[in-house]
Amino acid sequence: MAVIRDTIPAFELFQPTSLEDALALKRRYGKASWAYAGGLDSLDWFKDRIKRPDAVIDLSGVAELRGIRDVDDGVEIGAMSTLTDVETHAGIQSDFGLLSDAASKVATPQIRNQGTLGGNVSQDTRCSYYRGGWPCYRAGGNICYADTPTSINREHALFEADRCVAVNPSDTAPALIALDAKFVIQGTGGEKVVDAEDYFITPSTDITRMTILEPGDILTSIRIPGTWKGAQFYFEKVRDRQAWDFALVSVSSAMKISGGKIEDIRIVMNAVGPRPLRLHDVERQLKGQSATEDVGAAAGELATLGNRPLQHNAYKIPLMRNLVKRAIRGLEV
């Protein structure tokens, strides 16, 4: 268990220079392959020797995965764009500031320089038992170490947990769902374009994965349509320290106001469940209402319905309530 060795055992590295070659390698090695993007999560797993893929496929040479382009009314972001690229892109800042804001709250400057958007949304959970190499359900075993009477589970889930109570740690994922982004995936079945919301899965679908990516798949780009362009955005991430730390709870929202009323709204929370939690009921309730303190408070109540806290994470309930309220009140016009 949990032996940290620091040095990486040998692996075979492939450096394809086209998407076609990268996909062929993914197909050939299947489950034994590993897409290598910014390498932050990848090298972390390899160092602890917990994940030992046979074939590491470095995506950095694949031109098709790079670049941020304007398309129609929106923008298409290559999966290998760094978080710094996303954070500092002028068009994203002006039209989809929610995403720049979320990207700017990830970890540290160094990590944003190296980490990619594709890697950020595809990253594995940070449950410390699992990361420490404990043979839990997610690792193929038959116990959840985070859900026993003596577990340390302050960072774990309130919603949608199954046998695994880990949460999705990404800051950009909920922002992308709020912006109605589409994820473009290439793989054995050709090209698939899915709603951001459907990219993420719960343990009841597959306890060993966080996303719908199959072993032969590569996420190639993320498209943000013009739908929410210039809407009123709110992003807030509560964390222990203002750098490095993953969200304890985060809220991402996009809201359109017309005639003093909420015409349309999307609110997504993260770090409260195994996938970003879109608050569909809250969104429905809010449409047509004014963005006032009272309406925000009621929305906060509704947001937390159905939560199932563990021993040490009930503090996330008032956090959620208040973040939802702030997302609405903070955007009041």
């Binding site: 040095t7 090298l43 160094q110």
Partner: protein, 163 residues
């Protein structure tokens, strides 16, 4: 299978050839193959920043980077800060203000600070704090570090310290 690779790197302004296993990190190659031991090993997980070097002027964590990917890039380590044997103003400012105690975090912080000053020669305190958000120091309490960077930025190196 310890596949070794011939790497052509560009470190501190000079081309260097290295033969190293592809799975060795940039930090390992800098320290062990190139004997540039100024860059330090810390957490190895991205959580301390002491291994920070500049790649094309931007701070990155050498503990989480593979050198094979950086063959086209200009890598700068703390050893590359000196020019003609003279310490960089940041280094002098750190010495003058006592911004290093054990010194373990210093190489990484110098690199993050160098990158900041290249882009923003007179940063506000808040901007320095943000640029250093990825570098932990366990000794100084940070105040002297911030002061040292402000001192270097203001061109006050060598002047008496007003407390």
């Amino acid at each position: 299978m310890a596949e070794k690779q011939h790497l052509h790197l560009h470190v501190n302004g000079e081309p260097v050839d290295v033969v190293a296993p592809i799975h060795n990190t940039l930090l390992e190659v800098l320290r062990e193959n190139l004997r540039l031991t100024g860059t330090k090993h810390g957490c190895e997980l991205g959580e301390c920043g002491t291994c920070t070097v500049l790649v094309d002027g931007e701070p990155v964590l050498s503990c989480l980077a593979l050198p094979i990917e950086l063959q086209d890039a200009e890598i700068l380590t703390v050893e590359g800060l000196t020019e003609d044997g003279k310490a960089h103003p940041l280094q002098i400012a750190f010495a003058e203000t006592g911004a290093a105690q054990c010194g373990y975090c210093t190489p990484g912080i110098l690199m993050a600070a160098k990158s900041l000053l290249e882009k923003n020669p007179s940063p506000a305190r808040r901007e320095i704090e943000e640029a250093l958000a990825g570098n932990l120091c366990r000794c100084t309490g940070y105040i002297q570090i911030l002061q040292a960077i402000e001192r270097a930025a203001a061109g006050d190196v060598g002047k008496p310290i007003s407390v």
